[in-house]
Symmetry: C2
Subunit: 406 residues, 2 copies
């Protein structure tokens, strides 16, 4: 018999655990649970009829292309549409600045492979997107966590840390940020912070990886320029985008924008990963963009999500116990908010109780690359129905109330 | 300005070059070229009408599933169909033995990540599939190449090498083989060799990674049991399969079969790579299999490819100059054959001449992980039309004749 299974695994994965979020999600499959865990878009937003028709058409009319292998760089027609789409976001790029990816999780994996050597430092916010943490961890990154507040990552702390790291002659390979409606915290980086972060990137010659999947989903406030736009092609910023949250996730389609020299290396890395993103799904996205359907679709998404966000904000206001150390963020967009409890409450322990009460959230610890987050949770408002949001928050308030009283 | 671009890349990619094959393919885009390079299935085999109809249906009737995120492990319905399909190949597995991948290139990447530490030895045939080489190279594998002949990898040499490596206390992390109609050589591993290789795996406690994308495409001779079947669940064999060559590549759909303990780690690795394979493409494959369309479709593929193979064999016989050191393999299936020239001929230098003569092939060097292959080339017979095969071989014969005479 095959022996010594454990010794067979590489150090890349020896320390990797299944994503806490995805594993907890499994616990919350029973139908009576109202789940604020997960980060799923609402199926009611999916443009089912248009996509059904487009899928039919791109196979029937262009099967020799859409069912075949495609270029690693991505479908050139889709790139043209992305260039047109990005121009509306103030970004002017050429096809050589774009690599189509199998959604932005692959973008994170590519960035990890291309920039991270074992034990290299990578700077991220605390908390940070769990999928980025797991992608970078699989390249054995050493995480340098920087706290964030309501205006995003604390750039003053970034400055101090960079100065310290330069003295130690080991600057981070890059700074990873989710500037718009951050996952998990729901906060948006202010314009001043964006400027300051970019100034630091220039001063210290450090790259910024901007991950902005929810950027188009703004419900209140004014859109701020992306870091990629502000960089003006100097090359400090690598920007990850995706169609998962604005069109639908089942395509698994995203793209990386960066300086051409970086894209060249990304293409090589991607060749070894999956040769190419499915031409079939790219053809569908191309056609959807080409027909100018995306803007109206996003508007209808925003209408749905803005209302859900409003309902959740109101429900929290109405039902949560009053306690000086119980607070939550007020996201201007995206899918998530972040709820902080008094430090004595451990949301991982409380989770079992919540599931018994038929409500679920994501415990905060998974979002902290270097420890912490025990007294926080992420709540999603895009997936549950409006009535479930109200009922779910009531259930959660009961669980929290009991825990505050202990 | 951003400085020191070269210093920014990780050692993972510093040594990686763009795939020779994919780059050469770009040179051969002009329409007058007859290309035996590339490994594309023929678009005439694509089941366009069925897929158009199925794609329409899986979106319209099941959009909330097929357009949403899915489980990392894969669509459970597709797994059930794979289990049913594999039973016809003599393989009996459960859903826990299967991970759906974004085609088998991702399977190779996963295997690399999960098993290879920097500088670990990996044993492969010489020549070997270039995509496997580049996937394993990105984990900084050290390649231990073993020659192959008409019966596949030389297991006698594998035995000697394993004995030598055991003395040095460093056995390979796994032995990578393409037992059926190998890419690039077109040869099939004999039953005796399969038995002997598996016996060595048991004796030395070494894993075998079996990559068998063309297995169902046999045109002559008798099907041999796969290594995965012969292993009978002992766990020595990890098998990579794909729908790319038997259905169509544009789905980018494959699967890994392995011992459950391995699948568990593969799932964790895949979470960081792309979260999940598109549920949309999985739903299409599920429906296609569920309607029992695949078997007849493969039969029609075989009819097309068997004829093309026959035509190429005959054309080579009829047109190639006679020379004791000019020879080629006679594949019983798959998409490729391997042509060897006298050692004085460098197929990389000859390539330019071939392109001038409007014919293309893949130079052998890309398939040798540790040097060699300069006097060999891979020829594909699945993609060009029947008449192009005849004409292309004539052109190639002219180029070769000139080079032999020098």
């Amino acid at each position: 018999m095959l022996r010594q299974l454990e010794n067979r695994f590489s150090i890349n994965v020896a320390g990797l655990k299944r994503s806490v979020i995805r594993e907890l999600l499994k616990l919350t499959q029973k139908p009576e649970i109202i789940s604020f865990a997960g980060g799923l878009p609402s199926p009611e937003t999916f443009p089912v009829e248009e996509v059904a028709e487009i899928a039919h058409e791109v196979v029937l009319q262009d099967g020799a292309w859409s069912l075949q292998y495609g270029p690693t760089e991505g479908d050139p027609r889709l790139k043209e549409e992305i260039i047109r789409w990005m121009a509306r976001d103030g970004i002017h790029v050429t096809a050589d600045n774009i690599l189509i990816t199998t959604a932005s999780q692959q973008g994170l994996d590519i960035v990890g492979r291309v920039f991270i050597n074992r034990h290299n430092p990578v700077m991220t916010a605390r908390p940070s997107y769990v999928g980025a943490i797991s992608a970078f961890r699989s390249y054995m990154a050493r995480f340098v966590g920087i706290d964030l507040d309501d205006e995003g990552i604390r750039v003053d702390l970034v400055r101090d840390k960079l100065a310290e790291m330069r003295l130690a002659a080991e600057l981070p390979r890059f700074i990873y940020v989710v500037p718009d409606f951050q996952n998990p915290a729901g906060v948006t980086m202010s314009l001043e912070r964006r400027k300051a972060l970019l100034a630091l990137a220039r001063e210290y010659q450090v790259l910024i990886v901007e991950d902005t999947p929810y950027r188009s989903l703004r419900y209140t406030g004014k859109t701020l320029p992306s870091l990629y736009e502000m960089d003006q092609g100097e090359g400090y910023v690598i920007s990850l985008r995706t169609f998962s949250k604005i069109l639908f996730p089942g395509l698994r389609l995203g793209y990386i924008m960066a300086k051409t020299e970086f894209i060249d290396k990304f293409v090589i890395a991607k060749q070894g990963m999956d040769l190419c993103t499915p031409p079939f799904t790219q053809a569908i996205a191309y056609e959807y963009l080409h027909r100018d359907l995306l803007e109206d679709h996003i508007k209808s998404n925003i209408a749905i999500y803005a209302k859900k966000r409003e309902i959740m904000m109101q429900a929290l206001e109405d039902t949560m116990p009053k306690h000086p150390d119980l607070c939550w963020t007020r996201p201007e967009g995206g899918l998530f908010l972040w709820l902080k409890m008094p430090e004595k409450v451990d949301t991982e322990i409380m989770f079992k109780e919540a599931v018994e009460e038929n409500v679920a959230y994501v415990v905060g610890t998974g979002f902290y690359p270097d420890g912490g987050g025990k007294h926080a949770m992420r709540l999603n408002f895009s997936y549950p129905s409006e009535s479930d949001i109200v009922e779910g928050v009531k259930r959660l308030a009961r669980v929290i109330e009991r825990n505050l009283g202990r």
